[in-house]
């Protein structure tokens, strides 16, 4: 299901009883974020896009604490900013003093 970045918190809130499986980011000129939920074996996706020049989206860690690692991974590898995630700037898989560009970006 395609949604806008503004509606993210509301839509994720509607799915509080489901399990957050993962968050995926794809670089296609703009960043496509796919949030994947599961309940009883049935998967559901929420998809939204953020522009590369200003990749900002709200965090969902208040509703799903396990989103923290997924958001930090996407931040480290793509540069997407998840507003409200206090641990966002602690590097997850990259070294603490990594100065290069986010590695999985296509540019």
């Amino acid at each position: 299901m395609k949604i806008t970045a503004k509606d993210l918190e509301k839509e994720v809130g509607k799915r509080k009883e489901k399990r957050l499986v993962t968050i995926i980011c794809i670089d296609e000129g703009k960043f496509r974020l796919i949030y994947q939920f599961d309940k009883g074996g049935k998967m559901e996706h929420l998809e939204l896009s953020v522009p590369k020049k200003k990749p900002v989206v709200r965090t969902i860690t208040k509703l799903f604490p396990n989103a923290d690692f997924y958001e930090r991974e996407i931040h480290d590898f793509f540069g997407v900013e998840f507003e409200g995630n206090t641990k966002l700037h602690e590097k997850l898989f990259l070294p603490d003093d990594w100065k290069g560009k986010p590695p999985l970006r296509k540019d």
């Binding site: 993962t22 994947q36 009883g40 604490p65 898989f93 990259l94 990594w98 290069g100 999985l104």
Partner: protein, 383 residues
């Protein structure tokens, strides 16, 4: 009493793989634990970009040395969704057989490691001796003990003969007998119970809140298993129970895994009894023009998910969400209030596979070397 923060890792005799857990201590008790992963990151997702669909199959198997078949199986389950044809049924049975053999292999490895963490070296060696039975089976039917290269798109490489089936059943019988014996021994052993009971407790609420998967979730009473909830390969054709425990401590997680070994043996017997005849592969080449596919399997550690964006048979984006990545965040909660000596037990009872979880190599000599993509590819990928 002073408060200290000490790093547990990245090099530590109790840790099988490198990772760093920074623990804040009050005397012997842990107040706060912070996981700092990243020491085993190899850049898998980047390496897979630009590979064609046949080469990717070999690369994904090498994400992990313990759950190799899970990744290979997940890849084919995902990619075959983009093809209209159906996989031959005999191939599905062989794939399921390999998945369950791997579950036994992984759980016996884990059992040995856990026993080693609590100092029970004899049982560690016994479990790893029984694990050799599984590795012998893998070698016989696929040619490889650890990396099997058993899968092809739309099938498996090699068929199994009747004498292979007899070989497998003999070894399954041996493993069942031995593991049942060890389980009896461990359940009655005071030291094992003292080290595992009420250590690293994860409540049912926390398990739900953090969306845990696999034996870690099942040890806290969450009834999820991809084999039953979203069946794949030949799991629709076998009957099995999903093992859960309610205590949520290391002992519960241990029991879940032991019982899963015995349940996997039952599944293997059913598969070998009912395996249909027929071909095991379909002739390629296979063409995927434009597809975005997902696949999920129940790896030994839990739900493994692969996502691939494929254009003209080339992988444009690969996303691999391993089970360890899904549940490792609970380590920080599980360690609160534990004693420092419990750290290897709690980490061991979660059975993390850090190699799976992290996917860029960072060389640490005396300086940290950073690579841009061109340098990285030239050095590690060879293109």
């Amino acid at each position: 009493m002073h408060d200290f923060t000490i790093p547990f890792g990245p090099q530590h005799p109790s840790l099988i793989e490198s990772t760093c857990i920074r623990v804040s201590l009050n005397g012997n008790y842990i107040q706060e634990a912070k996981l700092r992963p990243g020491y085993m990151h190899r850049g898998m997702e980047k390496i897979l970009e630009g590979k064609n669909i046949d080469s990717t199959l070999y690369a994904v198997e090498r994400i992990c040395g313990i759950c190799t078949y899970a990744h290979s199986g997940c890849y084919v389950v995902a990619v075959e969704k983009a093809l209209k044809d159906r996989v031959p049924e005999r191939a599905n049975y062989i794939r399921t057989l390999l998945s369950e053999l791997e579950r036994i292999q992984s759980h016996t490895l884990w059992a040995g490691v856990l026993m080693h963490e609590i100092g029970f070296e004899t049982i560690f060696m016994f479990f790893w001796r029984e694990r050799e039975l599984m590795l012998d089976v893998f070698e016989r039917i696929t040619g490889g003990r650890v990396h099997h290269n058993a899968n092809k798109i739309m099938g498996v490489r090699y068929d199994i003969t009747d004498s292979d089936i007899k070989f497998i059943l003999e070894r399954i019988g041996k493993i069942e007998e031995k593991v049942q014996g060890y389980l009896k021994l461990l359940r009655g052993n005071t030291v094992v119970r003292a080290r595992l009971r009420n250590v690293g407790v994860i409540t049912r609420n926390d398990a739900k809140k953090y969306c845990l998967v696999g034996p870690v979730a099942r040890g806290s009473g969450i009834d999820i298993d991809v084999r039953r909830d979203d069946p794949y390969m030949a799991y629709r054709n076998v009957e099995f129970e999903v093992m859960t425990e309610s205590a949520g401590d290391s002992y519960a997680r241990a029991l879940v895994r032991f019982r899963e070994i015995l349940e996997s043996a039952k599944i293997i017997r059913q598969l070998l009894k009912n395996i249909p005849s027929g071909p095991v592969k379909k002739q390629g080449p296979f063409n995927i023009q434009n597809a975005e596919v997902w696949g999920r399997v129940e790896a030994p550690r839990g739900e493994d998910l692969h996502f691939y964006k494929i254009e003209n048979n080339i992988v444009q984006r690969a996303k691999i969400r391993t089970p360890t990545f899904a549940y490792i965040q609970i380590l920080e909660e599980a360690l609160k209030g534990a004693e420092i000596g419990d750290i290897p037990v709690v980490v061991g009872s979660l059975d993390p596979c850090f190699a799976c979880m992290e996917r860029i190599l960072v060389e640490k000599d005396s300086k940290v070397r950073m690579f841009n993509e061109k340098q990285f590819r030239r050095r590690y990928v060879g293109v």
